[in-house]
């Protein structure tokens, strides 16, 4: 029975790849990458065979990293098999043991399992002690492999049991995105502190490897140093942990397969004013198509988890950058100009795929009669409403901190012009290259193998164009001094930005008019098999 599930996984994998060459290529590359990484690690272990202490540290750290990978990557959507979702198997008369064995085996199939197996094999060979205790190491490696898979499955199942309401799922999308940011944010904030001191790592490695699922790895290391008793104890402890994890997984499976999804909690929004859509905070918007689009976009910025992620990334990351810059440099007047980076980053990513973000619901705009000018203006308005105050606020704070009040006027003007320019370029990009946002709510980054490449390339190309177009405005702002020079820059920038925006919008409307059905087709995601 377990074999049947494994064969099912293999067949699903093969069929999934058959759908598109892009996906097959991405999968192969992913496999090669994972196997390559694992082989490099194994080779590294073998190389360090005689340096027992450092090898031990390396193996323990690697085990920790791999454990985190097994636990966390399925949550982000990499390697998570919705196809082996236990709720799909709930109706079959499967014995729990069969089901678990099958799911466990199936989870080992794929680039992750293969890579882990290769890494463990390399570590085993490297850690093989010269005396009769040699059997401990492969045993421990096997138990460790089983533990990795079991922890992975248990975490995913426990979480899917917890994510029964729509709100919890929305929250997960946002949290995953935030967690995805954390390392990058940390790095920017701490400024690349080098972690090359292995001795310091040793301290961390030993502390963290007390975590029970890592005991088999410790057992392997202890065996190499001929600490037989410790090794056997840790191995037995590892087996006990495996049993515990399997028991926990079994209980989560029970819950997932037999409890119903909770009925949607009615998020009742009390009607606070007489005007739906515009009340309470959006009363300043005109009651026209443009205003309606702007109001919806602004409400979506908070209510839709994917857009919330975009807003978070657009808003938080520049601040992290700022914190880093402030922490390291002296408080020079010119720091006020870094508010421009905030404008650039917050504005750019929200301007590029404006129609794609609507997704298949864009048919509503098309069925009401295409009015690209009103729609794009509304979307631009929504982006401006968030980005302009943010930029200005940052500039003011920086000016207060650094005393660069003279630079404030220039920054404010150039910032506003920059946002206008970004929106103009974004409008053209949105109409020329609309990209569908995939439906999978599990993956906040909205990437699906080949899709991710396309989005990445588009963002990169757009950034280049934007930087080129912004240069004539930003460079003089940074270089010029003196009251007259600054006044000239302010006037020039405002004119330039306004012109760029008007031209961009006009071009976008010209390109998109009459092509509504084609746009709709492009932004409705293809059937992802």
């Amino acid at each position: 029975m377990a074999l049947v599930l494994i064969r099912l996984k293999l067949r699903l994998l093969a069929n999934g790849l058959r759908g598109s060459t892009m996906r097959a290529v991405a999968f192969t590359l992913g496999c090669l990458y994972a196997v390559g990484l694992a082989t490099a690690a194994a080779a590294g272990f073998l190389d360090a065979q005689h340096d027992v202490t450092n090898l031990g540290i390396a193996v323990e750290l690697a085990a920790l990293g791999v454990l985190l990978g097994w636990a966390a990557l399925p949550l982000v959507g990499f390697g998570s098999d919705e196809t082996l979702d236990p709720t799909r198997l709930a109706l079959l008369p499967l014995r729990r043991a069969d089901l678990m064995a099958g799911l466990l085996g199936a989870s080992l199939i794929g680039p992750g399992g293969l890579a882990t197996a290769i890494g463990l094999a390399g570590a085993s060979v490297a850690l093989l002690p010269p005396s009769p205790g040699a059997v401990l190491v492969p045993l421990a490696a096997a138990v460790q492999l089983a533990l990795f898979a079991a922890v992975g499955r248990a975490v995913v199942t426990a979480l899917s049991a917890a994510l029964r309401t729509r709100r919890a799922r929305d929250l997960r999308i946002v949290l995953v995105a935030v967690v995805g940011f954390a390392p990058e944010a940390l790095r920017l904030a701490t400024g690349n502190a080098p972690l090359t001191d292995l001795a310091r790592l040793a301290h961390w490695a030993h502390a963290l490897s007390w975590f029970p699922p890592l005991w088999p790895a410790r057992a392997m290391v202890a065996a190499r140093s001929s600490h037989w008793l410790a090794s056997v104890a840790e191995l037995l402890g590892g087996v006990a942990t495996l049993v515990l994890v399997l028991w926990w997984w079994s209980r989560s499976l029970e819950r997932v397969m037999t409890t119903a999804e909770m009925p949607p909690d009615a998020t009742v929004r009390a009607p606070r004013g007489s005007e739906p859509l515009f009340d309470p905070a959006l009363g300043f918007l005109p009651r026209t198509r443009t205003g309606a689009v702007a109001a919806r976009e602004l409400r979506y910025a908070w209510r839709d988890p994917r857009r919330r992620v975009q807003v978070v990334s657009g808003v938080v990351l520049p601040f992290v950058l700022l914190a880093g810059a402030l922490g390291h440099g002296s408080l020079h007047h010119h720091l006020v100009y870094t508010a421009l980076i905030v404008a650039f980053m917050a504005g750019s990513n929200r301007a590029i795929n404006q129609i794609g973000l609507d997704g298949p619901a864009y048919w509503v705009h098309e069925a009401a009669g295409q009015d690209l000018r009103a729609d794009l203006t509304g979307k631009n308005l929504a982006v401006a409403v968030v980005t302009l105050p943010l930029t200005l606020g940052t500039a003011v704070v920086l000016a207060a901190l650094t005393g660069g009040w003279a630079e404030l006027a220039v920054t404010a003007a150039v910032g506003a012009a920059l946002v206008a320019l970004l929106l103009g370029v974004g409008d053209v990009a949105s109409v020329l290259l609309p990209l569908p946002m995939p439906e999978s709510a599990a993956n906040a980054w909205g990437t699906q193998s080949g899709q991710g490449c396309a989005t990445g390339l588009l963002s990169l190309a757009a950034l280049l164009v934007e930087a080129l177009l912004a240069a004539p405005m930003v460079v003089p702002a940074l270089l010029v001094g003196g009251a007259w020079g600054r006044a000239a820059v302010v006037a020039g920038a405002l004119a330039y930005g306004a012109l760029a925006h008007v031209l961009g919008l006009a071009l976008a409307v010209r390109l998109g008019s009459g092509r509504g059905p084609e746009l709709l087709e492009r932004v409705s995601p293809r059937q992802v098999g």
């Binding site: 949607p264 909690d265 919806r296 979506y300 048919w363 509504g516």
Partner: protein, 257 residues
Amino acid sequence: MADVWPAVVLRGLVKRFGTKVAVAGLSLDVPRGSFFGLVGPNGAGKTTTLRMATGLLRPDAGQVWVEGIDVWADAVAAKARIGVLPEDLRLFERLTGLELLTYHGLLRNMSPSDISPRAAELITVLGLGDAASTLVVDYSHGMRKKIALAAALLHNPRVLFLDEPFEAIDPVSARTIKNVLERYTGSGATVVFSSHVMELVESLCDRVAVVAGGAVVATGTVDEVRGTGSLEDAFVHLVGAGQSATAGLGWLGPPSA
């Protein structure tokens, strides 16, 4: 003599998706004020036809007139007279029911003073009063259909196109929708809807067209198409599904003693 131009005229519509021909030269007339049913098996091209008729999918060939206006030559004017309820119900879900209706109204440049009373009435009539302040993403399937129908009716279109409006709908919601549609056609407007459910088509429609393989194989009043048998028999016969083989399956049933 009153102008009896049909409400909807389709002539020679063709649509190919790659090598597959979804609609192969479909022509149809829908008389004004009729409750018109479009029936056909899966893959017959009903959804594709409806999307081409409402300006959401560009035909490879052919023409569409709604209330005398060429939909593809003068899209904005035609769409002002059309209401659509598509099959896949992709709405802006992160809005409440009332916000969604307001949004649809403003997109059509209706004035807020028109939208508010109409939206409130539609919500009441369709039984969505409790859910008007809830996000559409939390609606059940039946509620989604109803709010989408409300959005399609808000601007008082002359022709309403519905794609499988009763699919997976509970009988109570279906009854409510039926009542609203009957009131609507009673006022002189036209409804075109596609369905698989023959009993529904028989009970609601006065005219029907049978579509198979991307073309119309029969059209007329329900009685004309039905002939002497039931509509379902006529449909199955027209679509060319013969007697299904009932040989085999001997193992099906309780084990013999």
